[in-house]
Symmetry: C2
Subunit: 433 residues, 2 copies
């Protein structure tokens, strides 16, 4: 069997919340004006109460509302796929599986949380959401989801992506969204950046500042939505790993190594956290959970574990996380979705506790892996997801050396149909590390 | 249930060949030099024997080789999806289903025949295939398939698409293909066209001439592959309709109306022919089979039923088909895959026998339907496939008027992630009919 499917009725009905099981409790977000734990009320200008409740929740299982399941079933459960042709190509004794999140209408795992966030905002009467997007995966996911609940979306898109990925913008507009290149002159934060560098390529941090600023200035009419980093996002993404667990159960296997790329952390968390539960609880203590980051933006492997802002301008609470510094502007690598200075506090917490590993890969290694994958498994992966492929290949080649027939699972978080420009750069030898 | 899946083991193991059941026998292809039926040997310079045998076959069921099933299972069986949100949006009593062929790695139904053609060529020792492509769907499918059998592919891509859809070209190159804008100065046929019009946007007919010319001049080293029109292509595509029949059986329903866009005819044939068998055999005589073509290139609805060349330069045999004339150069509409002057001889035969219907839709109606579909069902359709959506919506709105709860099935032959440029033109109001 090449693909392991679940029926819609087998789709998990609850999300998993790893906060219930963290060996070291999460340190709270701090109010930058007082350096004291942030009062939830202060965040209520940006987020609906239901999401703030999830953000602080220590409940292990959280019911997925029917309305969300109804949208999920447009594309979920997503298939678990055996990469048997890649195995043969690598001549490895390892078994390689991937969860294909690229089958969603927006083409990535991001709608898992977009649908949830839109739902809870709509339920509390919000009619407009602001957000940022790097590669466009998150922005398009939010626009896709918002149309089902009558919410307008304004997306600040990192300028280098806005210019390099026009199709992503059109996709957002097709679903009714409004897209603004960031830094823009529509916000104070954008204008400040442009004053210093009129040719700024932008960054996720800057775009977050702009989106937050617009929501803050809306007198409660607009909320803000974040596609990664925050705890509630990790909760929503857990459906990926929960499905994978059911799928492995069907074939009587269990992954020894789980590999996923990590930008803000939601793609890694989505796949790995349900397995982290098995690991922490002692059910599967030896499973390795490996986060892969770009060597050009290595927050886990080279950042510091300290309180930092989530954005560039300093509007957000301070989060305890691995960070390269909130004013870090990464080079314009093609994996826009991984150009973030920080890392999800929960992922950071696990890394600091040595419950997960992290490693980085160079851009050319990533595209080499993407081409090998396309020429064996047939699928064109997003550059972000190709980090996972590169990581999985690295593990599979270790197995070849040791002769161990390990089971490797990676997250194919999205397809690369809208990233073929970067494939072109690689194929033409123009891509630098 | 939103999506009806089949397991890999439920995938049909035989293709259906409608030639076995045509009420009026198909008229043979003619040799243009003699006006006599073409001797199969003469075609053997272009096609492998196994495909020529299928081309002339009157066997109703043809076994699908294991090697082909093994590649099909990368993405097949494809889901049958209930478009319940579109139904609600249209406020129609009709039930609307679509077969989603966009889930293939190349993003369309074309790999169904690409894999088969490559397999049979490889089995007979061929190492190189030449072909043409319009929108790029066929070319990319052939490149995708060829990599599994060690075959090199040279694709002549209609110049207007080559320039307007650079990502499609990169996709072909990602899978190892070589892409040449057509008309090119590499062939006599290309040079002749460029002499008359150096700015020729190209057409499928011209690109076919170039690809055939290269194969003919290869001294038997290269064969040629065609993505539509020919009988063997229709046979391979029958897997779409055969799967759909099994899927409808699972939910205890049967389509009253089947709608699919028609360029060369393979998309329509793939979905409709197994149902045409039910209709001709009297099992379901009232099912309507409706081909949708662009009003800018209306071969069935405005062409003549006569012998014509399949290409522009006159290299191919003469085929009895509905045609706008082999020198017809359609306007540069966005549905590159539907810009073909002729129509599959079998589809033409059925139309002439009034067993199927045909109707045309304008480009703006097509994109309006695509947007309505994206904003209800979430999926971004290829412009070619959006013709089917427009046709299905037209039928659903008729049901709204009559109050009939008919079951409509259409073919979503491909996704539109690489066609967002044309969505942009539509959204910006720049698209003309």
């Amino acid at each position: 069997m090449k693909k392991i499917f679940l029926s819609e009725s087998e789709m998990p009905k609850q999300w998993y919340n790893l906060m219930a099981d963290l060996p070291t409790p999460l340190e709270p977000p701090l109010d930058p004006s007082t350096n004291q734990p942030m009062a939830p009320e202060k965040l209520a200008v940006l987020f609906p109460h239901a999401l703030l409740e999830q953000e602080m929740s220590s409940k292990r299982w959280i019911d997925i509302p029917e309305e969300i399941l109804n949208i999920y079933n447009i594309w979920r459960p997503s298939p678990l796929v055996r990469a048997d042709r890649l195995e043969k190509f690598l001549d490895t004794p390892a078994k390689i599986y991937f969860k294909n999140e690229g089958v969603s209408p927006a083409g990535s795992h991001k709608p898992n949380t977009a649908v949830a966030q839109v739902y809870y905002n709509a339920k509390e009467g919000i009619k407009k959401l602001t957000t940022e997007t790097g590669a466009g995966q998150w922005g398009s996911s939010l626009c896709f989801a918002a149309q089902y609940f009558g919410i307008d979306v304004v997306v600040y898109m990192v300028k280098v992506s806005y210019e390099g990925k026009p199709y992503r913008r059109v996709m957002m507009e097709t679903w009714g969204g409004k897209v603004i290149p960031s830094p823009s002159n529509l916000t104070e934060s954008g204008r400040n950046i442009l004053k210093k560098d009129p040719n700024s390529p932008g960054s996720l941090g800057i775009a977050i500042s702009e989106a937050v600023e617009e929501a803050l200035g809306s007198n409660g009419k607009a909320h803000y939505a974040l596609g990664s980093v925050l705890n509630h996002v990790m909760i929503h993404q857990s459906i990926i790993g929960l499905e994978a667990q059911k799928q492995f159960e069907k074939i009587g296997d269990y992954p020894d190594i789980i590999v996923a790329s990590a930008g803000g952390g939601s793609n890694f968390a989505g796949l790995a956290f349900p397995f982290a539960f098995d690991k922490i609880s002692g059910k599967k203590p030896k499973t390795r959970l490996v986060a892969i980051e770009p060597s050009a933006c290595p927050s886990l492997t080279e950042g510091k574990y300290e309180y930092d802002f989530g954005d560039t301008a300093g509007f957000t609470p301070l989060l305890k996380m691995y960070t390269l510094g909130h004013d870090f502007v990464p080079p314009s690598i093609h994996s826009g979705g991984l150009r973030y200075h920080g890392m999800s506090p929960i992922v950071s917490n696990l890394y600091n506790d040595k419950l997960i590993e992290a490693t980085s890969v160079s851009q050319t290694d990533v595209f080499k892996a993407a081409i090998d994958f396309a020429r064996t498994e047939g699928l064109i992966a997003a550059p972000e997801s190709a980090h996972s492929i590169a990581g999985a290949i690295r593990e599979a080649l270790k197995c070849k050396q040791t002769g161990e027939a390990k089971t490797i699972l990676f997250n194919l978080s999205g397809h690369g149909f809208l990233d073929l420009g970067s494939y072109q750069s690689y194929l033409e030898g123009k891509l630098k590390d």
